[in-house]
Amino acid sequence: MTPRSRLHIPFPPARPGDKPDFSYVQISPAGAVERPESKASVREIESLATQMVRVLGDDGKAVGPWNPRLEPEDLQVGLRHMLLTRLFDDRMQRMQRQGRMSFYMKSTGEEAVAVAAGMALLPGDMLFPSYRVQGLQVVRGRSLVDLMCQCLSNTRDMCKGRQMPVMYHWGSGNIFSISGNLATQFPQAVGWAMAAAIKGEDRIAATWIGEGSSAEADFHHALTFAQVYRAPVILNVVNNQWAISTFQGIAGGEVQTFANRGPGYGMPGIRVDGNDFLAVYAVTQWAAERARQSGGPTLIEHVTYRAAAHSTSDDPSRYRPKEEWKAWPLGDPIDRLKQHLIELGEWSEERHAALEKELEAQVTASWKEAASYGTLTEGPTLDPATMFDDVYKEMPPHLARQREELLKLRTQGIGAANAQHDGARPTQPMAKEG
């Protein structure tokens, strides 16, 4: 036989019906990874990209040099934010299932990635999120009503009905607009950070991308520009193992970690246990400190698991074992922080149950208020003529004419079919996973 080349086709270790298998996930013991100075040179710390920074052990104790030594009150705030994010997600998913809104995407199992990172940054730092880090909004204190109104495209929607659910933005909260197209925010965050440095500010930028969409060219644009100019930016890859149906191997994660792409470009790469609140906090703090000292960018890979479906249009039972999340070796970020607080003597099952009840009530009250501003099936609706606003700063004549035409048609009863009440149900996937 003459030797010949043959393609390697990555295939996940388990498909529906198979026993979940996460033996490919290399895990360092809690506390085992050294914490270098934040000014350390990239060459000295390359191993951070292949090890896994972990603080919380299986026993609920915080150990090792990366322990950020947060006050119990801060930990309780983190727990509250994560729990609120999860309960908010659950409610929104249910409301979508009831036909009250068109679409939703949960972040279940990944709450620490957003919440801990958000808490480790300063309020003036600019965030360029992907669509599965809603915990950032919660950390920054965005009202749930505002988030819900966006999802409902109702009369109080910050996007004026122009975006699909979860595509939030928040100017005064320093959170950039979420795009339905993938990876675009990654190099934009770098540009924002470059501007901050040009202007002599000490604010930094942070951005999030899925491991799946790290295959997009924009990922590489971001790393190149960030490293060339040592921009003050934190580049987060959320490796939640699944991009809709394709596992992280299809994105290039089979042989090397995603964090390891950092040293390839000349910047530190840190691989962190994304379900460990303390570890995510600590590595973000380290990268922020480095960025603020002109040390340039850091690439952080958060190893986590997408416990929910990609979106309400997705059915993961078609492509992965149903029980996979239960086998995920890094556990549930909320349970782990809760156990840690209990271990510290600063929390209890009773307090947890009470908090859950309190937050459920908050979500319920928020939903009630948000729904009063309109849902898909009931309530007030936005004025369709507003669709012509904001295409340009000043409306050009051709758009003004089209707006007049729409208004005229509506007075004639033409085109008055109100989208808020059409009841058309999308049953198809409408966005992809990063």
């Binding site: 086709i9 295939f11 068109s102 679409f103 495209s153 929607d157 996007c159 004026k160 009905g161 122009r162 975006q163 699909m164 595509m167 795009s179 339905g180 197209n181 993938l182 990876a183 799946g212 969409s213 295959a215 997009e216 060219a217 924009d218 991009a243 809709i244 149906s245 394709t246 299809i250 994105a251 290039g252 249009s313 997705d314 078609r318 492509y319 936005l382 369709p384 669709m387 012509f388 295409v391 051709h398 758009l399 089209q402 729409l406 048609l409 509506r410 033409i414 085109g415 079919a417 109100n418 989208a419 059409d422 009841g423 058309a424 999308p426 198809q428 996937p429 409408m430 966005a431 992809k432």
Partner: protein, 338 residues
């Protein structure tokens, strides 16, 4: 004859071509094991193997570029871009490379790449899952642009595309994947089994590229449409009560000027419909062509009914969508002129 929806018809086209031609490969995000987010490639990997039906990384530029390389090396890649709204990262590869390779090498190199991509609104996809960017691609010399309106045409046109030697951007109007849509979202969904276009031979056949189809003969006015709008146009004709000749353009480039202009010269009136935005839209090309060829036969100014010149708004899908009432109003207005 078998009954198929458009998803099944497209699947059948690829299945047949994978079977008949060992050069054919299918690639794209989620197209392999999962069978595509719209199920268009369902079962193809299982049947033809993971070396011919490939799940790709999420990188549209990479998908098209790799397809070009495969095409240069003798394969016939059928690449899926999951939504037409996601096609832009591949734009340089399409415009500067795929479209011009044959020309710049005087025919020595070429890449017969098919890019399949779902387009259009009406599924509450908002501005990033509803676009109809066909006009951007018809403006590029060297690629063919196709948009079917029935399962029968979808299969026949996709087989023709794969059998051809030129690159094709093949737009699939996703609102009519599962059934024809006449523009009224309040009506119950109609399956393709209730439509003649849902009768699809199980075997191999082709529908020629470069040929429009008269879907409703008429004598008063010519109505030019493609994709989903072919069905909406017919509903508009019923609403307006005019004897319109409805033509499904089907292949936008190259354009079947003869069929279109013969009709307009006969009727003397013309309305052009598309879901895409109006300004510099494909309708402008249709209007210009008709005007050049039929000016002395025209009895009224040609009208366009299109999406407004804004991004596709999530909340106002049906105010944005150029529905039957707007088209009927245009039909009446061209009938009343002169």
């Amino acid at each position: 004859m078998a009954q198929m929806n458009m998803v099944q018809a497209l699947n059948s086209a690829m299945d047949i071509m994978l079977e008949r031609d060992p050069r054919v490969v299918v690639l794209g995000e989620d197209v392999g094991y999962f069978g595509g987010v719209f199920r268009v490639t369902d079962g193809l990997q299982r049947k033809h193997g993971e070396h011919r039906v490939l799940d790709t990384p999420i990188a549209e530029g990479g998908i098209v570029a790799a397809a070009i390389g495969m095409g240069v090396n003798g394969l016939k890649p059928v690449a899926e871009i999951q939504f037409a709204d996601y096609i832009y990262p591949s734009f340089d590869q399409v415009v500067s490379e795929l479209a011009r390779l044959r020309y710049r090498t005087a025919g020595e190199f070429s890449a017969p790449v098919i890019i399949r991509t779902p387009c259009g609104g009406g599924i509450r996809g908002g501005q990033t899952h509803s676009q109809s960017p066909e006009g951007i691609f018809t403006h590029v010399c060297g690629i063919k642009v196709v948009m079917p309106s029935t399962p029968y045409d979808a299969k026949g046109l996709l087989i023709s595309s794969i059998q051809g030697d030129d690159p094709v951007v093949f737009f699939e109007p996703k609102r009519i994947y599962n059934g024809p849509f006449d523009g009224d979202p309040h009506k119950p969904a109609v399956p393709w089994s209730a439509h003649a276009g849902g009768e699809v031979p199980e075997g191999h056949y082709t529908v020629p590229i470069g040929k429009a189809e008269i879907v409703r003969p008429g004598k008063d006015v010519t109505l030019l449409a493609y994709g989903t709008m072919v069905h909406v146009a017919q509903a508009a004709v019923r609403l307006a009560g005019v004897d319109a000749e409805v033509i499904d353009v089907r292949t936008l480039a190259p354009l079947d000027t003869d069929t279109l202009c013969t009709s307009v010269c006969k009727t003397g009136r013309c309305v052009v419909v598309h879901e895409a935005t109006r300004f510099s839209g494909y309708g402008a090309e249709l209007v210009a062509t008709v005007q050049e060829e039929c000016f002395w036969h025209l009895e009224a100014p040609i009208q366009r009914v299109t999406g407004w010149d804004t991004p596709y708004p999530h909340a106002f899908e049906w105010e944005y969508f150029p529905g039957p009432a707007r088209i009927a109003a245009a039909l009446k207005s061209v009938m009343e002129a002169a």
